[in-house]
Amino acid sequence: MRRLRWYLLLPAVPVIVAVAAALLAPWVAPSSPTSGNLAARLRPPAWVQGGSVQRLLGTDLLGRDLLSRLIWGARISLLIALAATVLGAVVGSLIGLVSGYYRGRVDRVVTKLIDVQLAFPFVLLAIAVIAVAGASIPVLVIVLAIGSWVGHARIIRGLVLSLRERDYVQAARALGARTPRILFRHLLPEILSVILILATFDVGRIIILESTLSFLGLGVQPPTPSWGSDLRDAAAYVRQAWWTSVFPGLAIMVVVLGVNLVGDALRDALDPRTQSRARA
């Protein structure tokens, strides 16, 4: 393991800020994210003429404080991203483990399934499911996890396929260790760092996908604040109020950028082998 240099941790700053905002939303948000003051609608940010310090980033069409919506939105967006990432990583890794370890018929079915899903643009899959299941946060989490398990399954399967031939695994088997013990005691620790790296990149991807679906009106529904659904409303009156479109998008971009760079740093520090595989 190479040394983690301090400046590589700089990208973690926006991530930490966003997580803190999400956790502390009720205490740090200057006002309510959902109740607006119609008399104060479309107020510009504080540094623009007509803005005020009470509404640092201005207000939206319904007079809601933009900064407060961003802070509460962090809570929803990050929570969904985290839940979907964990679900996708756990399911995908398990399938990859089992498929790579057992090989044979199980593996053939899994690889075909992976092939098929990779042949299916994710947004379309999401549209098909949400068209019937309806847009809600649990549906969103499941759909996003469906979109992310494949990446894990494919890479973990490949790793396990070669790891299972290692001497120590053979030795464990020869000593009579049972399959679950081999999978979780011997193989899992070996691949944990890869899972962690993949999951980090997934968080970024999933934040973008969640905001995309919410932007299309297929994700988080108003009045719940989320960065993507806020942009959906804001896009309609971008001419009148640029700030309502600029800030939520900036939040998404900076956080995703931070997460991805942290992922790069993690990957370089933990596992140089996956360098070109984890991300293309």
Binding site: F122, L124, V132, G204, A235, W242
Partner: protein
Amino acid sequence: MLQYGVRKLAHTLLVALGVVTLVFAALRLSGDPAATMLPGDASVEELVALRKTLGLDKPLPVQYASFLVGAVTGDFGISFRHQQPALGLVMDRLPATLELAFAALVLAVVVAVPLGIIAALNRGRLADVLAMAFAVVGQATPYFWMGIMLILIVSVELGWLPTSGRGSFAHLILPAITLGTHFAASLARLTRTAMLEVLGQNYVTTARAKGLPERTVILAHALKNASVPVVTLIGLQFGTLLGGAVVTETIFAWPGVGRLAVQSIFVRDYPVVQAGVFVLALSFVAINLLVDLLYGFLDPRIRTEDAA
């Protein structure tokens, strides 16, 4: 090469069957389409009647079989809103979507491949850092925000280009940039990595040692060999591009399949959603077949590799 082509075609057909199955599963297992299609205050009788019309009262295998037949014969039912066959509506809009995706693809390749090469040749220097900064930021920017910002800056503030619709070349520019940037970002990264890998190979050293001009070394020796992963990514990413087209079309009111499918969800025009998803997914499968064939052409080793 012929044998390779046949094998790839067979694989593609299998994947296409899988895609159809996945569409079926996504649409039938995630809820009751009849309940989704009817307004909230519909009576139970109406629900039962609609289920019968749609064939949802039959057992799943029968439904699956008739869905397959429908998919093969292009019968996805009649659009409620437009009172026309759903597939026809979708096919009418497919050219617009393909035009957009193709424009974005060309734009991305034209920008990203040279960028990746320049970055690789100047590894660690300013050009490399700038190119990769572009790539990293591009990958972190959601399509839709990119689109809104372009509209804000280029159309609203500067008044240079139209904000929506399709028609002239000017209409195509902003949507293509919106859709292409994300792709260009990952393509630039990959081109750089592939070039760096190839530049370290012995045959490149040999080519240089025998005194070939650097341009020939880069273009004829390095680039051709670096192109295999790049072409693969282009193929794989075309699906993402089609997905991104859905979003881009929505922002720019581009009259394509994606926008139609999304709008149809909100008006519960279920056959159109189904046909739209199906056609886009199948276009992607077809593109991947093309890429696979191109791949076998670029690197003859691949033709024999997975035959065993």
